[in-house]
Symmetry: C2
Subunit: 243 residues, 2 copies
DNA sequence: CGCAATTTTGACGTAGTTCAACACGTGTGG
DNA sequence: CCACACGTGTTGAACTACGTCAAAATTGCG
């Protein structure tokens, strides 16, 4: 709280430092007077507000890891033909650019969807800091392991889903699960982006997406108004997701 | 080499400790005399041969990370209805069960496909060891970051691929890339499992898979005999993969 | 409030999956 | 040696799910 500078904006969900996944990395800051001074010089933890701008882009030098504090990010890849493909989303408490640890350059784009805040951790400084504080490294290890599981679960949820229905259901459930960490309600979900972006990500057309949403509403699985989804029948949705 | 006990078996591809992704973790073993004795007592690096048996199963206590030395593993998940879903494969040089760092129990099955060898790193021992040797933790961090990228790339390669053709092409390319690390040829690929398993993983039937393989052969993209694939037209395959 | 952008709905055609049945090669045991 | 099972590949016919085109409805923004 004291270490995070928060810029209040309407309609934006923030997570506390307490529920941020990066917290164990930042935690040593609060330890003792002497430690704080050491850390301050090395691990510059800043809160940046970006509005619909890229956090980083393909081929850019990978020199920092980011943790999302508020808002959402979309990750995209540019195909050889120049088409943009949405390869994922990141929500508060999740990491972006953790590849930086071993990759010289990022190989995807991370762009803010609306107003967002992130914590930036400089890689060099993290390394320096890690040498002095082994606990920091342990935290980072745990963090990466968590992110790892998140990725695997996301992968698992969409792989082998041939029908658009099961794919969308799985996608919604995945979003729901990931948002549950910082959202108070288990049954509500705010879509961070428009239909086009979601359709792009899932690999079908805007119209198809719209139709399936309608179908889900008819079935009483959920209700949707603009970008706000309310889950009405979770088990039903899960049934659809499992083929 | 000296630290890995290898059991020679026919038709099995092995990777050296030198090209194993776990190597940086094991490396300190070779550092100095004194260090070796310390490490030996903590980080018990063993080479285990498993034949078509599960390395671990769902809900089992997660107490170790594994690195594949030879052979292949398939990762599966059991759906609520009891159906087995193949959620991925792991090849020599890749990690299995890295979730163990933060999860009390594994949430998927890892079963050996044919004869395999793995290096097992006990979590408790890794932690103990990490306290004494910060470099070990740095290695682990890098390792996890790499595995992270691998997962994201795998995800990226299959997401938004609605047509079976582009999905299979992307799958083959992904396998090719991952096998290039320990295989001498860039154009040949040995499928570790049968058509059914692959079809399960990609989400369609054996027939569809067979049809597309035939189509790819007709197009001159590749030739396939049983489980041995030879890539004839890499750019062509890439075209198919990108929708 | 009004215009533009986004979303929804409808009708229609086609590509691709699925189902079912068969053909082929291989290993196994009587 | 043949019968049998099993894994794999092939083929044809039916269907349905998705893409396409077009237009209406809704939302959001200035």
């Amino acid at each position: 709280m004291t270490t995070c500078i928060k810029v209040k904006q309407p309609k934006t969900k923030y997570i506390d430092c307490d529920s941020c996944s990066m917290q164990p990395v930042c935690l040593p800051l609060k330890a003792g007077k002497t430690e704080i001074s050491i850390m301050d010089s090395y691990l510059s933890k800043r809160n940046i507000v970006t509005i619909s701008t890229p956090l980083f882009q393909e081929k850019e030098k990978a020199d920092a890891i980011y943790a999302v504090c508020s808002g959402s990010f979309k990750l995209t890849e540019t195909s050889p033909e120049g088409k943009e493909k949405v390869i994922g989303f990141r929500f508060p408490g999740e990491l972006i650019g953790e590849d930086a640890i071993h990759t010289p350059n990022y190989n995807y784009n991370a762009v803010a969807v609306g107003n967002t805040t992130v914590c930036r951790v400089d890689l060099d400084e993290l390394n320096e800091c890690g040498k002095l504080m082994p606990e920091l490294q342990l935290s980072l290890i745990s963090l990466l392991s968590k992110q790892n599981s998140m990725l695997r679960e996301e992968f698992t949820s969409v792989v082998a889903k041939h029908t658009a229905e099961s794919l969308l259901a799985a996608f919604i459930l995945n979003m729901l699960k990931r948002n549950a960490q910082y959202q108070e309600t288990e049954s509500k979900l705010h879509l961070p982006v428009g239909r086009d972006v979601i359709a792009n990500h899932l690999g079908f057309r805007r119209e198809t997406l719209s139709r399936i949403f309608s179908k889900f509403q008819q079935k009483g699985l959920l209700s949707i108004q603009a970008k706000d989804v309310e889950i009405l029948d979770l088990p039903g949705l899960q049934d659809v997701a499992y083929n």
